[in-house]
């Protein structure tokens, strides 16, 4: 049994068929690159996995459990995290609040059945996570909107890794970064692999894809057109699959 099993997933928006029966399986600790042109259906497929969209047909299973009908918060609790291309950060909130967004630990107020957010704990654990990642941030109490692009990405990554995920989906994590920051993200993906955490990497930058992936899956017009180990393919082949020349 694979960690994540995607079977015959279909999705249409109005009359546009975005996904036309996608099959894909991912094992624990595997780094799989998902490539394809704009509009090939990569983001839609991932939003089905994370529960933002519901599929029109097919099934998604994670550790054997069906994900159909589950809400995004349930799917996060099962161990799937996604780092969005736009990072999905609340810019007017601080770093700690963003890292714990949607799963804030709470504590009772004076023993009453009233709960409040446990801010000291959030700040303590956020601090520990930031240090573990080696990210350079002024403070976990700093407003996220005032951080640089690379620092904001560190916050999004820290959020995805704080709750011991089994699968991390990264949507274009290197597209907006400087060279040194790209290397940092690629090293992080290798580290996740060492910890047996599976990664789905969506990227247009094939050099990055070839640098860290075990397998490359190409999506075109809503179907998987190739699914090959990185050792058995080449950059030219992958480009050909993406544009439909092979």
């Amino acid at each position: 049994m694979s960690l994540l099993e995607i079977e015959g997933i279909k999705k249409h928006f109005g009359s546009v068929e975005v996904l036309r029966g996608v099959n894909l399986a991912i094992d624990g600790g595997e780094v799989v690159a998902l490539v394809g042109d704009n509009g090939a259906g990569k983001s839609t497929l991932m939003k089905i996995v994370t529960g933002i969209y519901q599929p029109d047909g097919g099934a998604v299973r994670f550790e054997g459990k069906s994900l159909t009908g589950r809400k995004p918060d349930e799917i996060r609790r099962l161990g799937i995290e996604m780092i969005y291309q736009d990072l999905a950060l609340a810019k007017q909130q601080d770093v700690a609040a963003n890292i714990f967004l949607g799963r804030e630990p709470t504590r009772r107020v004076l023993g009453l059945p009233i709960t409040m957010i446990d801010t000291p704990r959030i700040e303590r654990e956020a601090e520990a996570m930031i240090r573990k990642l080696g990210a350079r941030l002024p403070s976990v109490k700093y407003q996220v909107g005032k951080l640089s692009g690379g620092q904001q990405q560190s916050v999004a990554i820290a959020r995805a890794l704080t709750f011991n995920p089994k699968l991390v989906i990264m949507d274009e994590p290197t597209a907006a970064l400087a060279v040194r920051e790209v290397e940092h993200v690629l090293e992080l993906i290798r580290e996740l692999k060492r910890q047996r955490i599976a990664v789905i990497l969506i990227s247009h930058r094939l050099t990055d894809v070839f640098a860290v992936s075990d397998r490359i899956v190409a999506l075109r017009q809503g179907v998987v057109v190739s699914d090959e180990p990185v050792a058995q393919t080449s950059m030219n082949d992958v480009v050909a699959h993406i544009v439909g020349a092979a």
């Binding site: 996060r76 999905a88 601080d94 949607g102």
Partner: protein, 328 residues
């Protein structure tokens, strides 16, 4: 030193703490200036009884303002506050007066009317995807019209003594509405600043997509926020009716303008993500002091309307300058 560059003015608009506690320092400054100026201009201004009057007048606006604060935190707007206040007061008064319901039921009906109007706003905004501006503007018309229909346009006079105590009582020499106002302020401050409910309101206003991606149930939260706002209007309706001993269908006319002004003046971002109950409290006090002062100086209420409108636009202008700085 009379003119400042926009950039410099924006620099001064600095939130004191996190997004849930952002108090605009100007509002305190404005309040201080008003207090000093009015103390000099009017011999009647600086007295305990006048300050209690100000607090009493501020109570209704302040409670409405807290409702507005939660909705604005989530990037919404509630234009139906004044009309829902009137409808709630009318329903409460009719139930206790014409229908002879016991007073606890009357109070419950008053609050429930507010909550129901708010819930309808919330459903229209989420399920029917009608912009908050339009949904609550429609509610403004319907609620005000219904209040007039139910009463034939004539205030319903005569409420039970227990209810009158809520509006006119003076335990320890302080008007009851002032106590209620301050208690509600404390609870609202706690909810917005320290609970998940408040945090999620701010996050939805900040980045709705992020809220959704992180598993926050955005639609449910929105409906609850508008219900809360409607409930606050219901409470304000109760305070108002109890003070004037009647359910008046024309009560609270354009109060939403004053309540929203109080919230923005207090540092809430009209576009969501940042709001403060303490700020709204100060904003409401500014509005209360302003009205009181203009009354003492015998300025016509027509001019007062103009003053409120001007303050609202000025506060939003400051907010825009601040926004330009936050979202750089």
């Amino acid at each position: 030193m009379t003119t400042e560059s926009p950039a410099k003015a924006a620099e001064a608009v600095k939130p004191v703490k996190g997004a849930g506690f952002a108090i605009r320092l100007e509002s305190l400054a404005v309040l201080a200036v008003l207090l000093v100026a009015l103390s000099i201009l009017s011999p009647y201004f600086l007295s305990v009884s006048n300050f209690l009057n100000i607090l009493l007048a501020t109570a209704v606006i302040g409670v409405l303002g807290f409702g507005a604060t939660f909705v604005i935190a989530a990037g919404g707007i509630d234009l139906s506050l004044g009309a829902v206040l009137a409808l709630s007061g009318v329903v409460g008064a009719l139930s206790m007066n014409a229908l002879n319901f016991p007073w606890p039921i009357g109070i419950l009906l008053c609050l429930a009317t507010g909550c129901l109007c708010g819930a309808v706003n919330g459903f229209l905004n989420t399920k029917a995807a009608i912009p908050a501006f339009i949904a609550t503007l429609g509610m403004l018309g319907v609620a005000r019209g219904l209040a007039l229909v139910l009463t034939n346009g004539v205030p319903v006079y005569g409420l039970p003594d227990e209810v009158l105590f809520i509006g006119q009582g003076r335990p320890f020499g302080v008007p009851t509405p002032v106590f209620i106002f301050l208690i509600v302020a404390g609870i609202a401050h706690f909810v917005l600043g320290f609970t998940r409910f408040g945090r999620y309101a701010l996050v939805i206003g900040d980045n709705e997509g992020a809220a959704r991606a992180m598993g926050i149930r955005v639609e449910r939260q929105r409906v609850l926020l508008y219900t809360l706002s409607g409930g606050m209007a219901g409470l304000a309706g109760l305070l108002f009716a109890a003070r004037v001993n009647s359910g008046d269908p024309t009560a609270g006319l354009s109060y939403e303008l004053t309540a929203i002004t109080a919230a923005i003046l207090g540092g809430s971002n009209l576009f969501g993500g940042r709001a403060s109950v303490a700020g709204t409290l100060i904003g409401a006090l500014v509005m209360g002091v302003l009205q009181n002062g203009l009354n003492l100086l015998n300025v016509s209420s027509f001019y007062q309307q103009m003053a409120i409108g001007t303050v609202l636009v000025g506060a939003v202008w400051l907010d825009q300058l601040n926004r330009a700085r936050v979202h750089r």
